[in-house]
């Protein structure tokens, strides 16, 4: 598992570097339309072929990665942050605060998560921030649950009592004494959740609710080229493959983190 974890993170790092450097790389302009090269099969000139408007699919996949990876990463950070704060508040305050916050978590979890993300993306104006918000809106709940559980255990520990007896206020104990202990688990959860966030972004893009054209995204490329699947299967194959490889590497990494952190039991699988 250790080796696969390393390989997966290596692949991910390469993808991130490619995405960040995309405008500097010597590849075709992803939005340049070339009517002389419609739906050309993969070749040396066009590594992944061209789509129905003659745009180079390889560079569209590379540029699409910018959207997918940044959305997944920002959504993961946002979810972790919101979940962390809510979990900390619920676990530390207990009582009514806990009941209300956890009822909110259960309420959100009671809806199919994809439909909820769809609902959020319909309500807000389309764009990259909407996708991030939609994913984080559904995603923070699992962070809140796991952080709350941690806080509940730490709260009863002697060092908290010691801090109390030295005259520390509640805010100080919660933020300076307990919160840092919950950081590792939140980071691990981020790794575990990342793959799912990549898939949600792609699915929203596929349903036409993601970042709007002409900006290339992996999901929207699959749906836009669906009509040409028989005559030009590469137009659909490569963007989808990019989604799969990214999600697969994220999940391998998550699996490795899960095993190392012994989180497997509490996450059930």
């Amino acid at each position: 598992m250790k080796k696969t974890g390393k390989i997966a993170s290596g692949v991910l790092i390469v993808m991130v570097v490619f995405s960040v450097m995309a405008p500097l790389l010597p590849i075709a302009d992803p939005e340049r339309i070339d009517l002389d090269a419609l739906r050309e099969a993969p070749s040396a000139a066009h590594l992944f072929g061209t789509d129905s408007k003659g745009r180079d699919i390889f560079s569209r996949v590379v540029f699409g990665g910018r959207v997918s990876i940044s959305v997944a990463a920002v959504a993961a950070f946002t979810s972790a942050f919101i979940g962390f704060v809510v979990g900390l508040a619920a676990g530390y305050c207990g009582g009514k605060t806990d009941t209300i916050l956890m009822a909110l978590v259960d309420f959100i979890l009671s809806f199919p998560s994809l439909l909820l993300a769809i609902a959020v993306s319909v309500v807000l104006p389309p764009g990259i921030y909407t996708v991030m918000i939609a994913i984080a809106f559904v995603g923070w709940t699992s962070f809140a649950r796991i952080v709350r559980g941690q806080v509940l255990t730490y709260k009863e520990m002697p060092f908290v009592e010691a801090a109390r007896s030295m005259g520390c206020g509640h805010a100080r104990i919660a933020i300076l004494h307990i919160a840092p202990l919950c950081l590792p688990i939140s980071l691990i959860m981020m790794g575990i959740k990342l793959g799912g966030f990549v898939l949600t972004e792609a699915t929203l893009g596929f349903l036409g609710l993601g970042v709007q054209p002409p900006t290339p995204t992996w999901g929207s490329m699959v749906s836009a080229n669906r009509a040409y699947i028989l005559s030009a299967p590469w137009t659909v194959f490569f963007p989808g493959l990019a989604i799969f490889v990214t999600a697969f590497c994220c999940n391998l990494l998550g699996e490795y983190l899960k095993e190392r952190s012994d989180l497997r039991r509490s996450l059930r699988y």
């Binding site: 319909v122 792609a202 299967p233 989604i243 799969f244």
Partner: protein, 310 residues
């Protein structure tokens, strides 16, 4: 037993009331006006007013909500803003399709997933185990829409074995059910593996083997039975979510189910449709949970009804 079931079903009433209230409130507080969506931007003020009056959109929240509830009690879910058909009729027409797809998916996923998980647990750390882990991680990483299109390309467009899309009999059902089964198999196999490994480590398994019980029998009677609870939980959760519609799979394969209906409703802000789907979806989910709990009870007599009901 009967009183327990009745009690659980009775609890559905306040739950649905709460869910309808919160969803109603959320839908109302959304930006964007369904009346404007309906008539388009260029409609005159009179048309807008007459339609709002017809839909009751000019009344206050409380009156709208109580009006909705009183119709709901009579079994009237209202009409779709767009097709003007009864929402309940539409749901009842599409629900059997969704049930069909969900059942077919579970029919494939349950045996395959559990067997894979058992094989991996018995082979812990070995080749089968590692291969199973890789395959199942790949299974949950697969974008369903892409996988569906690829499967469709291969089996219906190239090999022409199945029709590419549509709602109907077994030949229409095969591809979407298989596609939907892949993530279900993956989670199920992983849960089964972990749960089996836990159960294998229990002392009573060692006792059973020590007293000379066959390995096969020990596995079936002592290990698997103890490992079943988490497996049943996952099956219940998956089945419940499939009964609420598999949006992407239904969209790709043109399957006329609840998932697509709900999504269309959300995208068009067809409030009666959204509310209807939420209510029916919640009721179905609660019902599946109830059945899951009853299955627990059957499988593990240590579980008491009252404890679950606390």
């Amino acid at each position: 037993m009967k009183t327990y079931i009745l009690k659980r079903l009775f609890l559905l009433v306040p739950l649905l009331l709460g869910i309808t209230m919160v969803s109603f409130l959320m839908l109302k507080s959304l930006p964007g006006d369904p009346v404007l969506n309906l008539v388009g931007e260029r409609a005159s003020q009179e048309i807008i007013e007459s339609i709002s009056k017809e839909l009751g959109a000019d009344q206050g929240f409380i009156r709208q909500y109580t009006g909705y509830l009183s119709l709901l009690i009579k079994g009237d879910f209202g009409r779709s803003y767009y097709t003007n058909r009864q929402v309940l009729d539409e749901i009842l027409a599409k629900f059997p399709n969704t049930v069909c797809l969900a059942l077919a998916t579970m029919f494939i996923a349950i045996p395959v997933g559990i067997l894979l998980g058992i094989a991996a647990a018995l082979n812990r750390g070995g080749f089968i185990d590692r291969a199973m882990q890789a395959v199942t991680i790949a299974g949950v990483s697969m974008p369903v829409f892409w996988f569906g299109i690829m499967v469709m390309l291969l089996f219906s467009l190239q090999l022409k074995l199945f029709p590419p899309s549509g709602t109907g009999g077994l030949q229409f059902l095969a591809l979407p059910a298989c596609v939907l089964a892949v993530p279900a198999i993956s989670t199920l196999a992983r849960v089964t593996r972990t749960s089996m490994i836990d159960a294998l480590a229990m002392p009573h398994v060692q006792t059973a083997r020590a007293k000379g019980l066959l390995r096969r029998k020990t596995l079936a009677m002592h290990v698997l039975r103890n490992a079943l609870i988490p497996i049943i939980t996952i099956i219940g959760l998956d089945f419940g979510s499939y009964l609420n519609g598999a949006v992407v799979t239904e969209t790709i394969f043109g399957w006329d189910g609840i998932g697509r209906f709900t999504m269309d409703g959300i995208v068009k802000r067809d409030y009666p449709v959204i509310m209807g789907c939420i209510i029916i979806g919640t009721a179905v989910f609660v019902f599946v949970n109830l059945v899951t709990d009853l299955v627990y009870l059957y499988l593990d007599p240590r579980i008491r009804l009252d404890e679950k009901n606390r």
